[in-house]
């Protein structure tokens, strides 16, 4: 095997809060429940730290879908959930402007023991990627091929 690019495999970035999604992903591991390997989980304190362009730039870098797994209304940081939701809502029109299918970005509440919801999200996003393919094609084509907002 030479240089391994995995270009054919769409990549799912999971931004998972330490108090929610990241611990939830660890719970999935402890349950030895299998899911797709194209998922890359990065721990975050609270996704309220990411500005709108962070998501756009991630898509432009080649991330095909982003799941923000936060603690929802159980976020231990005052106002963190509301702030995150506001930011994500602002990202959607920016995605549309660039022709990126808005279904590629999802904000979901995952708790420390939410193994089934975690698996469901990962399954669903991969089903979506099977349908719509890589983000690069959308960005290259521009806004004309954008999918309807979810």
């Amino acid at each position: 095997m030479g240089q391994e690019s995995n270009a054919g495999e769409p990549k799912v970035l999971i931004l998972a809060t330490l108090s929610g999604g990241y611990a939830g992903a660890d719970s999935v591991g402890q349950a030895h429940a299998e899911y797709a390997t194209n998922t890359y989980i990065l721990p975050v304190v609270c996704p309220a730290m990411f500005p709108e362009e962070f998501y756009i730039e991630s898509f432009e870098r080649g991330i095909d879908a982003i799941l923000v797994m936060f603690s929802g209304t159980d976020c231990p940081y005052k106002g963190g959930a509301e702030r995150t939701a506001q930011i994500i809502n602002k990202v959607y029109p920016m995605m549309k402007e660039r022709g990126i299918d808005t279904r590629r970005l999802r904000l979901v509440a995952i708790c420390t023991v939410c193994t089934k919801p975690f698996l469901k999200e990962v399954t669903q996003v991969n089903e979506l990627l099977d349908e719509i393919g890589h983000v690069a094609a959308e960005i290259a084509a521009g806004p004309s091929v954008q999918a309807p907002a979810s």
């Binding site: 095997m1 391994e4 730290m49």
Partner: protein, 687 residues
């Protein structure tokens, strides 16, 4: 196992990290086969060795073992490694272990990054090649972050060796006593004029069958006699400034109302009566009152909450006396705060299971008081009426279902289990059986959840002693109705009983006891003052239910007891002791050490636009301050690390990207993402 060593420049490794070459040690752990059974760890190490800045890439059967850690230390000392990345189990398990390892070898402990390869790779994937490629990408991302790691220092603050405990129930008392025993001072405040909380309203308690007030009074006596503990009853927290180690709190205390030497006389002279909250409104008491015989403090108090204008007149010895509430404020400096504000029993709506409409329907807390006041004898007599048939209904105000139950004022139903009511009901049923052998006892339940040690025994005992069980489904709750006039009992419970496969059953009852759930005491004022967060169930939230089970996200503020969720007395005491231990560890050195993951402002980029201040939910965490830069007077954002919770809201709000979160910078995330999408180094991976 293949290893990559680059001993060049090893000598210049330790300090001045910004100027020196970044030399990364990458370590892929077998985890005793937990990782290596799926991931080809040697191939991972081989691939990582090809990445820029990686000077050592090793594997080990167990990196966390002494031998594994020794290898890291040796690489730091002998091979000039100055950043360390370990791919192993979850960071929650061993991140601190490896921070200690690199620190022992002379590196800043934050020159370390941990990658979870076990829970998030080998344990969730079976395809060995794909899992190996994923491990390479995850480790590459970790290495990308490691290139940008900066030396960080724990935030060290001097700390008052003094804690505030809010709430004088069993959890607050226990927390106060435990903190004091470790040599710290405690100020305990209680909103009501008397200590003890709801435990004082109980009689015998499970699973020990001790008398509730005997146990409680033992603790109160210890607390009251403790010179380290200052008690303020009729007191609430009304102001907070500062941060962990140095909270300046303001306490407002209502007047006791009467001088101790004439208090008993004043109570006797008082004629104004109000519902007695000790008996859940079933009886009346005077507004100058003692909560119950033997309460603490023993001096009667005026119940100002039932005297809206704060003034009371009474005649004593023929003289007219005017009593007035003159609240006073007390300022205290404390290092930490324990929230032990407790619970309130669920109050059924009028008409819910007949409550408030049928006099034969009471809640379980009310029944406990009624039973305590009932005449002694072989027949149960409540409100002067003999009770031959009694029915308990479980899960009233708990495990509620949308569209089946009425929501609370906030629009949410109580969908949680209140945990204590099943055992409490069975404990009471057994007590009734012993005291009133001829009583017919019906227990109408959804599920029996006697989860604690010894609790199941209550269920077994009840089952063997003629307690009749009937089971309903949550979607079909039982109905309570008045009986037809000619019936033997005044009320009936009608239900579809799933122990008899859905048979429609009518249970005759002289008294129906609703096993009501637990709701948090309303503490919106505290939530606003202390910036702690409630969950959707309205109970206060811990940071993490397992890893940081009593800490809130606000440093130095911890939770004890049922303010956090439904708990038995036993669990409340355990939680209070855990909270006390946390406070003790935090304050006992007189120095608080906090994680350095707080916001940081780049003054070269800051334009003083103030969005960060607007978006920040934490008081004084970030402020605009005047300063002179380049000869000009300007306003710039300044972070108070002690007040910053590290949520990063200011990072995204800054239009100039002048703020970042130390240890989790945007740049580090971007580099990790670049590594995830990049081509991985060429290695032959078996298939």
């Amino acid at each position: 196992m293949p290893e990559k060593h680059d001993s060049k420049a090893a000598a210049k490794a330790k300090s001045s990290p910004k100027e020196e070459e970044v030399r990364i040690g990458a370590y892929t752990c077998y985890c005793g086969g937990n990782i290596s059974d799926v991931v080809y760890c040697e191939k991972v190490a081989e691939a990582l060795a090809k990445l820029p800045n990686v000077v050592v890439s090793r594997t080990d059967m167990s990196m966390c073992s002494d031998a594994g850690q020794a290898k890291i230390e040796e690489d730091i000392r002998e091979h000039g490694v100055n950043r360390v990345v370990v791919g192993a189990c979850a960071p929650s398990l061993h991140e601190q272990t490896f921070r200690g390892t690199v620190q022992r070898a002379g590196l800043n402990p934050f020159f370390y990054h941990h990658v979870g390869l076990r829970e998030q790779d080998s344990w969730v994937h079976h395809d060995r090649v794909a899992a190996t490629k994923k491990a390479i990408r995850l480790m590459s991302a970790g290495i990308a972050k490691a290139r940008l790691l900066e030396p960080l220092e724990h935030i060290r603050l001097s700390a008052e060796k003094h804690a505030l405990v809010i709430g004088g129930g069993i959890a607050g008392l226990r927390a106060a006593r435990d903190i004091s025993r470790r040599g710290l001072k405690v100020t305990l405040i209680e909103r009501s004029p008397f200590l003890g909380g709801h435990m004082a309203q109980l009689e015998s308690i499970f699973p020990t069958e001790e008398d509730a007030r005997t146990v409680l009074h033992g603790l109160i006596e210890e607390v009251a006699a403790d010179p380290n503990i200052t008690l303020y009853t009729s007191s609430e927290l009304t102001g907070v400034r500062g941060y962990v180690g140095d909270y300046q709190v303001q306490i407002t205390q209502q007047s006791r109302g009467v001088d101790e030497d004439v208090a008993e006389e004043a109570m006797a002279a008082c004629t104004l009566e109000v519902p007695d909250d000790y008996n859940y409104g079933l009886t009346q008491r005077k507004v100058i009152y003692k909560a119950y015989p033997g309460c603490y403090p023993p001096t009667p108090a005026v119940d100002w909450k039932n005297i809206p204008d704060g003034k009371l007149e009474l005649k004593m010895n023929g003289k007219k006396i005017k009593l007035e509430n003159k609240p006073k404020t007390i300022d205290v400096k404390v290092g930490a705060i324990v929230i032990a504000t407790g619970f309130t029993p669920y109050e059924p709506r009028k008409g819910e299971y007949g409550y408030g409409e049928l006099p034969e329907v009471v809640t379980m807390p009310q029944f406990i008081r009624l039973l305590a006041m009932a005449p002694k004898g072989e027949e149960l007599v409540i409100n002067e009426k003999p009770v031959r048939n009694i029915g308990f209904i479980h899960c009233v105000g708990s495990r509620q279902i949308d569209d089946v139950h009425e929501p609370q004022p906030d629009g949410e139903v109580n969908n949680y289990c209140s945990r204590v009511c099943c055992t409490a009901t069975l404990h009471l049923a057994n007590d009734l059986r012993h005291r009133f052998p001829d009583l017919n006892i019906f227990d109408v339940y959804e599920d029996i959840r006697t989860y604690g040690r010894g609790h199941e025994d209550y269920y077994i005992e009840a089952s063997e002693n003629r307690v009749v069980f009937l089971r309903f489904h949550g979607e079909e709750p039982p109905e309570v109705v008045a009986s037809p006039d000619d019936d033997v009992s005044p009320v009936q419970i009608k239900l579809k009983d799933y122990l008899t496969w859905g048979e429609e059953v009518e249970v005759p009852a002289d008294l129906i006891v609703l096993a009501v759930g637990i709701m948090p005491n309303p503490v919106d004022d505290l939530i606003n003052l202390l910036k702690v967060s409630p969950g959707t169930d309205r109970f206060l939230l811990e940071v993490h239910p397992k890893l940081r089970p009593v800490e809130t996200a606000v440093p130095g503020i911890v939770l004890a007891g049922t303010a956090q969720g439904p708990m038995t007395i036993q669990e409340s005491c355990a939680a209070a002791s855990a909270a006390a231990a946390k406070v003790s560890v935090l304050l006992s050195q007189g120095l608080v050490e906090l994680e350095p993951y707080v916001a940081r402002v780049d003054l070269d980029l800051c334009k003083g636009s103030g969005e960060c201040v607007e978006v920040c939910a934490y008081e004084d965490a970030i402020t605009l301050e005047s300063m002179t830069i380049g000869g000009k007077e300007v306003k710039r954002a300044v972070v108070s690390p002690a007040n910053c919770a590290g949520c990063g809201a200011c990072v995204s709000a800054c239009p100039n990207r002048a703020i970042d979160l130390q240890g989790w910078t945007l740049g580090q995330y971007q580099s990790m993402i670049e590594a995830i999408v990049a081509e991985i180094p060429a290695v032959e991976i078996e298939s």
